[in-house]
């Protein structure tokens, strides 16, 4: 099972998915993220998928579920770096993932989460 590292930067959990994951690993990651959000009192989650050539419907739905879960735990989820081909495919599949926040790069994602001057804030913004 592939273990995806979760890095905490000033209250934002950075998860960079480097490999295509099996469905089990994805489910485990989902579980792991929600645990870490509570444990580290994170206010945001950044999921970087810029190296993924393929995002299947399961991963797409899970990303959406992660966003919904973390927002219940008072943390915003932003998916960053989705490739054009992946975006087109998801739209063609009808998976437009409403409500999921997206950004072009990790930097933009951090800006979206209001890291701003680097002050650490916890809880909902």
């Amino acid at each position: 099972m592939v273990q995806v590292p979760i890095i905490n930067i000033h209250g934002v959990l950075l998860i960079s998915i480097q490999d295509e994951l099996l469905d089990d690993s994805i489910s485990e990651l989902q579980q792991h993220i929600s645990e870490q959000v509570i444990e580290q009192q994170a206010r945001g989650v950044l999921i970087d998928i810029s190296v993924l050539d393929v995002v299947d419907s399961f991963l797409a739905r899970t990303l959406h579920d992660i966003a919904a879960t973390t927002s219940l735990l008072a943390a915003q989820t932003v998916v960053v770096g989705m490739r054009p081909a992946v975006a087109i495919t998801l739209v063609e599949l009808g998976l437009i993932l409403p409500g999921l926040r997206t950004a072009l790069s990790v930097e933009d994602g951090l800006a979206l989460l209001g890291r701003g001057n680097g002050t650490v804030r916890t809880g909902p913004r």
Binding site: G81, P84, A87, I88, I96, L104, S105, D108, G109
Partner: protein, 289 residues
């Protein structure tokens, strides 16, 4: 007619084509079909001889009515050149029929001048007629495939030409869509826009449809999909250039662009994009240019 009789007729006809080569070429080279190259009789005679050779090969092979026969395949290049010289395609069928008649009539006349046994005259004439008719089919095929190639290459050029992605500002892109959007063109436009968003890390992309004559449900669907894909990548799409009558049609068709931001003019969309980036255009102070 038995196979051996067929073979016999074929050999008589091919012998005739070989022996009467000169008069046939002389008759043919006067026909308008071979006069395409500016009335150069010598060139016309050379072309005629080549076509005649191809025809004869097909007759010898017993494939006078098969347009894919080797004999006809060998003269396709020449026929392409001759077809290209004619230029005007508007009367293609009528012209081809006339060309074929101008080749068949002299050929049959010469055939009937031959001193032949009664049994061979009619079947031989039928065979010659069939061979020339097949030549006509090959001619049509050559002309049509030339047309198809032209259409394909022009379609490709159109797709390339019509989808430039323009950078308006750091982080602001625009793609002016022009002309009727079919599914291939819209796909190319979407792909190049999304790629440009990635390359330039653009946060706002403006789809300008000023040059699109009509917006039907398919075009609207495409605009919506592009906007959704851009959003998934983390950029925002703004649609501009919706003319009043198009807006009217869209409402009547029940097209709802949902959450996509729309602006009347490209300028308005640009202003919106700048405000998204936290920028604004202000007049320079007087005298401070």
């Amino acid at each position: 007619m038995t196979a051996s009789a067929n073979h016999e007729i074929s050999s008589i006809v091919s012998e005739f084509l070989d022996r009467r080569r000169e008069p046939i070429v002389a008759e043919w080279s006067g026909s308008p079909f071979f006069q395409g190259s500016g009335g150069d009789r010598e060139q016309a005679a050379v072309d005629c001889a080549e076509v005649l050779t191809g025809l004869r090969r097909a007759v010898v092979a017993g494939e006078a009515d098969n347009p894919a026969a080797d004999g006809f395949a060998g003269i396709r290049t020449l026929l392409e050149v001759l077809a290209a010289q004619r230029g005007d395609d508007s009367r293609l069928v009528v012209d081809t029929a006339a060309s074929i008649r101008s080749l068949r009539d002299p050929l049959l006349r010469l055939w009937h001048e031959e001193d032949l046994t009664d049994g061979a005259v009619a079947p031989g004439a039928v065979l010659l007629g069939a061979a020339v008719d097949t030549l006509g089919l090959v001619l049509l095929d050559v002309a049509l495939s030339a047309g198809r190639d032209t259409i394909a290459s022009q379609r490709e050029q159109l797709a390339e030409l019509s989808t430039p992605v323009i950078k308006l500002w750091d982080g602001v892109l625009a793609i002016p869509l022009i002309g009727t959007l079919d599914s291939m063109r819209s796909q190319v436009a979407t792909e190049s826009l999304l790629q440009a968003i990635l390359d330039q890390q653009a946060q706002v992309a403006i789809l300008d449809i000023t040059g699109v004559p009509t917006v039907d449900t398919m075009v609207a669907q495409h605009l919506l999909k592009t906007a959704q894909a851009a959003r998934l990548m983390g950029a925002e799409c703004v649609i501009s250039g919706i003319r009043p009558q198009i807006a009217h049609t869209m409402v009547q068709l029940g097209i709802d662009l949902e959450e996509v931001v729309t602006r009347a003019k490209l300028a308005d969309a640009f202003t919106y994009a700048l405000s998204k980036l936290g920028l604004s255009v202000i007049p320079a102070a007087t005298g401070d240019v």
